[in-house]
Symmetry: C2
Subunit: 155 residues, 2 copies
DNA sequence: CATTTATTGCAAGTCTATTGCAAGTAAAAA
DNA sequence: TTTTTACTTGCAATAGACTTGCAATAAATG
């Protein structure tokens, strides 16, 4: 398996690709391809959640030719496999994607000025979920929580 | 002022239009028009938050001809005036609008099956906001919180 | 009721994302 | 290794939500 995407080797990336191939793709009759490796590699090496067009542009910079359509299809496959989380942040008009692999459930805060996104490593909603289920008679499956404001640089 | 939209008179609607005109529109050099009355009237009489196209279609049913573009412009004006809140619910791909007038800050739960949206008359995030400001050094301006799951009918 | 200028409708455009299909290619079978 | 199978990709076209330009319309004011 060719791991030398962009000429950079990462042990974490190797494990991620291995696991994705054997437990994710192969198990669902899918294949590990050049483009899927490239997208996984990029997401693995990036802090901020990326949009489809950002992934497209970054890979273009890295001399990896992938159609934008393929980026959309790829992140959707990775989402189905549970490897990637899709974020629909308020007032962004586009989705962002981040690796879920090995990360705890968390939320985000976004700067209204520069768009910087920072992880919030907390979730205060477990108790609240029960209360809501009692009050509304819904079965709660998911929640989204997002803060926005001004980051230190933009205040 | 013609209040007889759809031939139905409502005292609450009368007060809303009066207040909107004098304190909102007039104060910002804007005008109370047939279309703004119609949109306000519809939102005032609806429980669920409505999307632009839903507003458009409902007004068409009510024999009130308003262009979809005008609906978008109208809800944006009402949003600027602070009379309407824009909701960008997860996985909906479109914004919804609800009257803010006279309502407390609240959040929503949405059925993943039928799309029904129910108000949650609570907000557990006041204390959390301070903690987040301390941890991230952001100044928090806003937050969004949304639950999803299955409503009683769809379970 | 005439004037001023905000507002509307229509057409066209933007942006994000999806779909159909022929060509390309990874993985299994021979 | 070669062949076969069918999953993937790129390209073009399309869909859907929303915006913009502009001429025509219609509120508000004197």
């Amino acid at each position: 398996m060719n791991l030398l995407i962009k000429g950079i080797f990462s042990w974490r990336l190797f494990l991620l690709l291995e696991k994705t191939t054997s437990q994710g793709l192969r198990a669902t009759g899918r294949r590990m391809t050049r483009t899927r490796k490239a997208v996984l590699s990029l997401l693995e090496g990036t802090q901020q959640p990326l949009s489809a067009s950002e992934i497209f542009l970054q890979l273009q910079k890295d001399q990896i030719a992938i159609d934008l359509v393929t980026v959309y299809r790829t992140v959707n496959v990775l989402k189905e496999l549970g490897l990637v989380v899709q974020l629909d942040l308020h007032q962004e008009g586009q989705s962002r994607y981040e690796l879920k692999e090995g990360r705890k459930h968390h939320h985000h805060i976004r700067c209204q000025m520069c768009g910087k996104i920072v992880d919030l490593l907390l979730c205060p909603l477990k108790k609240l979920t029960k209360l809501i289920e009692e009050r509304t008679q819904f079965v709660v499956e998911d929640h989204t929580l997002e803060f926005s404001g001004f980051c230190p640089k933009c205040q």
